[in-house]
Symmetry: D3
Subunit: 138 residues, 6 copies
């Protein structure tokens, strides 16, 4: 029987893609699918497939790390690179998976070590916007 | 009473520094203190103090995130930047705090998303060296 | 006789600068000169000269690589760094030099290797904006 | 007696924080405190403390380098990273400490060496905005 | 019939992986397979699969851009990031696909624009090492 | 009469190159010319010319910022990027121009702000090596 943590050579791309779509739906709860993903699918089909079938459908499908830890680690990486839009998406996934706002703030504080103070401040601004938009939706 | 998660205005720098030394000792188990930290203390005393009293003594002292999650997130950030030596130190801390080698390999896999394939490959090489040196010491 | 691929020690800065202006005009077809270049010339004359006389007037004047390949390579470098505005300018030059929209999309797909998925997604957004603005102008 | 260039182990965090606030006030002259710092204090108290007590209260308090040189060096680092908002803040500090607009333009020119031309152009745009907003305030 | 430029939903991971192996063999001519790829396969099987089945087996399989142009663009991206080992591998692929040493030197010169002078100098050192090792093997 | 701070359109590339060579000689005092520059001249003549005639011959020739401040700012930028070899060369230039070892250590401390702690630690290691090699030569 196949494990999500072992590469399955017989799996088709369609199966990986479908699993990716399902995982994104789980990660986003009842939030609307980001419009940027729809534009990708229309204009950059190979990248859309890579995101869904590889990045989400293969990496996020793995279960060695729980969802919350993986999304928190991803937020740490994005924060170090100054990628605010991606911090928001994946910090949202982390919250939906049970992380708390305070845990995400810890990643902001941690970011001063690998990325310096501007990257930490930028990450704090991304989280502030995310928390506000989630508060409005409730 | 003071919490490790609230800034204590009355705390002295010596107290923060001592806490930092204690935390490093806990994180490193019975491993030798990295020589680079000794050179820092002699030649760059301000940076040594900043590492011990601020980065370790204040950030690592916080308990909102558990040690394992924070060190894993830090490895993810270092991997994205291609910082092999720092991956080794902090992946070692993660292992000492209960993370498994397989969990750290997940961060390598994850790194292809924020950092691309070369950064993931470099991180895999850092982990390979770390795992080998720990196997030798046992 | 001098070759564009050999440094000509007798050439003056004015000659390099003039060649740079001519090359930009060729690269941009009948598109308006970006306003940002005019602001540069007024407020940062040394940088404006460096862009025109060195970056364009010397590097872009070389003919070992054809224009299309060089601009495509430059787009790949900018994509890896997340520099959307520069992707747009130089992807436009590539299109004017005969590259197709589909070839530029390949650079987006390629970017997942050296730069990871966020940089590829950002590059896809820059190209989408560029393609739309060119479609409008026609 | 303690020197600003020697770590004082007996100093409290409150003392470092207060010194940081005083230094920011000196650096900003009669300019309003950036709103981003207030949001930090409310929502990310640990980061706010780290900025005030460590980054400003400890590093900027040192006197081995004069204020003007340190702020110019910081602008050079931010320019290389493409951090326009931070260029503006610290170029403003440099101007208040006696640097001239022409000296800051030199950092833009210099940036082509470590960071390439896009980072230099981005830095020129940040300075243009800063100089314009200061001209208006006068 | 399926095109290499359209995602084939029915394709299995084994098929993508096998195609990746074949493409690497074509790209490397009669050069030995880099040892780093073998270590990957043993210790980081998911990453090894991602490199072979996705990065090589899917991206390098595409034919919209010819092999030479894609490898040159990849060298430009790696040069900007300072990734000497990856410059060597992919500049070697470019040479095997018909690029000339002089064309690769153009990418070094070009790199001063997006990445600045140190990245260009580092890339020149990587190419010098690559050219020397290829000259020895002949 | 021409000023080093105004672009002189009538100047030839040979004049700029010769000025660059003279400036490097002044910056390096009686230190040997780095071998890497000789390899550049032979194998990458365009880059060698760009370094000498543009980066050194034009930027370093400017006098709005004094030599010491410009080299210190450059060290700050290189430190943020983790470029140890370039830190050593330009910190050496700064020392030759009258900067003190303690002033350069300040740039290490400062680097924790824009670049985080690993970049500061790497810069400290580069300076340690530089200071040791200069002590030996005396």
């Amino acid at each position: 029987m196949s494990s999500p943590n072992t590469v399955n050579p017989d799996e088709t791309t369609a199966e990986r893609y479908q699993r990716g779509l399902q995982i994104v739906q789980d990660l986003t709860d009842d939030e609307p699918r980001p419009a940027s993903l729809d534009a990708l699918e229309r204009d950059f089909p190979f990248l859309s497939n890579a995101v869904n079938a590889y990045a989400v459908g293969e990496i996020f499908a793995r279960t060695v790390l729980d969802v919350r830890t993986r999304q928190i680690a991803l937020v740490a990486a994005f924060a170090t690179l100054g990628l605010g839009d991606f911090i928001k998406i994946h910090a949202g996934y982390a919250l939906n998976a049970g992380a708390t706002e305070d845990e995400l703030k810890e990643i902001v504080y941690l970011t001063t070590i690998p990325g310096g103070f501007p990257r930490a401040i930028q990450a704090s601004q991304a989280l502030t916007e995310l928390f506000a938009s989630r508060a409005e939706r409730r």
